[in-house]
């Protein structure tokens, strides 16, 4: 499911660029499409060049540009937001406007109006760029001046009641407070101004800037110095605080990435995760590419982000030379291609960002790259190990089958060859009945051989892959009768009794079920004495059809009821033919029908095999030409 789009409003100010970049990062992190909304006033004659620049930037970062005409920016945004299914985040720049500035900017979108429409706004506090910095500075100077002047006024008024030292303290206090909140410039200005005013109003000769005692010079110096120091400290602390929290956030991100990577098991997931995290950490757009022949394919899931041009030359160079490549694209974006791979370069990471890569982000990127490489290597090795294991298992099975085949086919073949060569032997004279007997035996043994070969073929079908049953509605009598007819010769020495109920149709794959029934009957004959009975019963009960084959033979030993369905299981100490594949085949064929087969001792002392298969819901009504 495509997540809701992230919408960023394009403005004409220079701060818009930073806003767009932030929005792009957020969109990348969410895997959501990015829409750049440009509301144009009908009265506007030409497109503002700043807006043009910002639009270009938005396109480069993969946004879809939507232009709407509307008189009011707020209304335009609201209308657009309504056309979308949902808006995850709406990015509007919020500058620290003081109240007297706000009412001047009538075209700025109104937060309250948007919130009233139920659109959640994400206000991005932008780093103050130079222009705004200038505005702020002017403001701060003004406030400093005012504060110091106000302090002076108050102090002047209460001068008779306070000592000189108190005045100095008061000024210092003002400077400290100002230094705490403001930049260095204004606080220094405040310090100097306080010194000047202190001198003018509180130091004799009054109302002049002269001093009659040199001791005041030291006071002036201290005051200035303190102002300077406080503002420096304040500045430094603020910067350190910012840096620390930024680093903390990055470390947390790295930690999350590492944890997430440890949990995933496919390369696809690794790339999806890494794209998001690295994009957030390194503040740019991240793509992974693999090389397929001469083309490059992007990896990982791609939500509806518009494809931007791929720096083909750089990527192919990266693949070839397996080293980091940094370059600048035509659109002004900084591109970095990094090779990834265990023993050779298998993938290339392409990072495109508006900011050039500084040392800190460089380190981050390399850490992330190592994490990703390790995860990919781990996944690939795990896959290799798994397929090696599967291969080893199938090798083992194949060898077991081959040796079973070798033994169990050679025996009847040996018999046939022995009998035939005896018949051909010129030195022995065989009388008519013996010759007939030999020839009959050759025929019988060939028949059994044929059955074994069939079994083998069936087994290889099961093992070679998925065995799918072609289920059709079959008549139980036909299926049983047909199987009995095919085994007429084999069943010659026994009597088969059938007790099938009136169930007309059952959903089975008739060729598979024939093999099952043949195997069960073959076993029944094998383990039963001459002229005994084999009873086949079939009935429907409780949405299932049950078919039982019961013989009057020697029965099953109590502990082997489950094991006999395993491959190559053979009843011990019996020198009877059989590869032990028969019952295993039965089991897998029945299971392909969604049914079950069980063995137990029957009421006649022999073995009783029960097959249960589920019945589907309704039988189609047949038209009859009555």
């Amino acid at each position: 499911m495509i997540p809701a789009p992230v919408v960023v409003c394009i403005g004409s100010s220079r701060q818009s660029a930073a806003l767009i970049t932030t929005a792009a990062e957020k969109a990348c992190a969410l895997g959501a499409p990015l829409h750049a909304l440009n509301i144009v006033r009908p009265s506007a004659r030409t497109q503002n060049s700043a807006i043009e620049e910002n639009l270009t930037l938005a396109i480069t970062l993969g946004a879809r540009v939507i232009t709407r005409q509307h008189r009011s920016t707020t209304q335009g945004i609201i209308e657009y937001a309504k056309t979308l299914r949902a808006v995850d985040t709406l990015f509007i720049g919020h500058k620290s406007h003081k109240f007297w500035q706000r009412w001047c900017r009538r075209d700025a979108p109104s937060q309250k109006a948007l919130q009233a429409e139920g659109i959640s706004i994400h206000i991005v506090e932008l780093e103050r760029n130079r222009q705004s910095r200038q505005n702020t500075l002017i403001f701060e100077y003004g406030v400093s001046a005012l504060a110091v002047t106000a302090a002076t006024t108050i102090l002047y008024v209460i001068r008779p009641f306070i000592a000189e030292a108190d005045v100095i303290m008061a000024y210092l206090a003002t400077v400290v407070v100002l230094a705490y909140s403001f930049n260095r410039g204004p606080s220094l200005f405040a310090a100097i101004l306080s010194v000047a005013l202190f001198d003018f109003f509180f130091v004799s000769p009054f109302h002049t800037f002269a001093v009659d005692h040199e001791k005041y010079l030291m006071s002036f110096a201290v005051m200035a110095a303190m102002g300077l120091m406080f503002s420096s400290f304040s500045e430094r602390l603020k910067k350190e605080l910012r840096d620390t929290s930024k680093r903390e956030a990055q470390l947390r991100d790295l930690y999350h990435l590492a944890r997430a990577l440890a949990a995933v098991s496919t390369t696809e997931e690794i790339f999806n995760l890494s794209r998001i995290h690295i994009a957030t950490l390194c503040e740019g757009r991240v793509d992974f590419f693999a090389q397929k022949g001469s083309a490059f394919t992007a990896l990982g899931a791609r939500p509806n982000i518009d494809e931007t041009s791929l720096p083909v030359a750089e990527v192919s160079l990266c693949f070839k030379e397996a080293k980091l490549i940094k370059t600048t694209g035509d659109d002004g974006l900084h591109i970095l291609c990094a090779p990834l791979g265990f023993e050779k370069t298998q993938f290339v990471l392409v990072l495109r960002s508006a900011k050039p890569l500084d040392e800190e982000r460089d380190n981050l990127l390399h850490t992330c790259l190592s994490l990703v490489t390790l995860s990919v290597a781990r996944t690939q090795l795990a896959e290799q190990a798994k397929s090696a294991e599967v291969q080893a298992q199938s090798e083992q099975l194949r060898n077991a089958i081959l040796s079973a085949v070798s033994h169990d086919l050679r025996t009847p073949l040996g018999t046939i060859m022995g009998l035939a060569s005896t018949l051909l032997d010129k030195e022995i004279h065989l009388d008519g009945p013996l010759v007939s007997e030999f020839i009959t035996t050759i025929y019988d043994v060939s028949e059994q051989l044929s059955q074994k070969v069939t079994n083998l073929l069936q087994m290889s079908r099961t093992l070679s892959g998925k065995l799918t049953a072609k289920i059709d509605l079959q008549n139980p009598e036909e299926f049983v009768g047909g199987t009995l007819a095919k085994l007429k010769h084999r069943l010659a020495g026994v009597t088969v009794e059938t007790q099938l109920d009136e169930t007309l149709l059952i959903p089975i794959d008739i060729s598979l079920m024939e093999v099952v029934l043949s195997n069960l009957l073959d076993n029944a004959v094998k383990f039963s004495p001459e002229n005994s009975k084999i009873i086949i019963c079939g009935n429907t009960f409780n949405q299932h059809y049950a078919l039982t084959v019961e013989d009057q033979g020697c029965g099953l030993a109590s502990h082997i009821e489950k094991n006999i369905f395993e491959q190559f299981y053979r009843v011990e100490n019996r020198e009877l033919e059989g590869m032990g594949l028969g019952l295993a085949i039965c089991k897998s064929f029945i299971e392909a029908h969604g049914g079950k087969i069980t063995a137990e001792n029957g009421s006649f002392g022999g073995a009783k095999f029960t097959i249960v298969i589920p019945l589907k819901d309704t039988l189609e009504i047949m038209p009859s030409r009555e």
Partner: protein, 240 residues
């Protein structure tokens, strides 16, 4: 004595051909052999056999193509021989126009029975169609539209009667599901094999001693049905 029937064997395995030749000549047939499909098709035109034995696994052309090519201009009965587990091919061959099939390995008696049946139903035979089938427990008289079992009248629905008639007209020969469906229900129902099964089951219940081990209405699993009536007093036509 009748004219000796000519059999053409199209089979690529030499030992198989040898065994068939010996067997068939022993039963009084004149045997011709070909080892390739194209060679076989040519020979048919020149020798005009009464019956053709065709192996489905020929190297140059698959059996199906041979049957369809042949049926374009000839009605000579064809029995296809195939290896096991190729039900699909057998059915296709039968639907394409082959008359019967045999699965390797097969016994000689099976082969001879099939050949006899195919010849009996051959279009070149004088078609004295058997109208009455009589055995120790079952009597079917198509001229009077009556069926009796153990002397008692059996009531068949019209559909059942039509199926019985269709199968009996092809006594001894296999009919595929498709052929039965097409003849009884029409071309649009050719995939509903279970229609036929249900009716056959009911027929068996009415006519057979043991439905699961039928005597007359035999099931060829995966292929279709075969009516098998060894007629006691069939009037043999002049040519047999």
């Amino acid at each position: 004595m009748n004219e000796q029937k000519k059999i053409l064997i199209i089979e690529d395995d030499a030992q198989m051909r040898r065994f068939l030749q010996v067997l068939l000549e022993g039963h009084g047939y004149e045997v011709f052999q070909e080892s390739s499909a194209l060679g076989g098709l040519e020979k048919i035109a020149s020798i005009k056999p009464h019956i053709i034995l065709l192996d489905l696994g020929l190297p140059d052309l698959d059996g199906l193509s041979v049957v369809s090519r042949l049926r374009a201009w000839s009605c000579i009965p064809v029995i296809v021989i195939s290896a096991r587990e190729q039900e699909h091919d057998k059915v296709k061959a039968l639907d394409c126009g082959a008359d019967d099939y045999l699965t390797k390995p097969f016994g000689s008696s099976e082969l001879m029975a099939r050949i006899r049946v195919a010849l009996r139903h051959s279009p070149t035979q004088d078609q004295s169609k058997t109208v009455v089938f009589k055995s120790h427990d079952l009597t079917i008289d198509f001229s009077q539209r009556l069926v009796m079992r153990h002397g008692e009248l059996v009531h068949l629905t019209p559909t059942e009667y039509r199926i019985l008639h269709l199968l009996a007209s092809n006594n001894g020969r296999v009919l595929t599901y498709r052929q039965i469906l097409k003849a009884i229900w029409g071309a649009q129902h050719i995939d509903q094999n279970h229609y036929v099964r249900v009716h056959m089951a009911q027929l068996r219940h009415k006519l057979e001693e043991n439905s699961a081990q039928p005597q007359y209405l035999l099931t060829e699993n995966g292929i279709g049905y075969r009516f098998q009536f060894e007629i006691c007093d069939e009037e043999l036509s002049a040519n047999t």
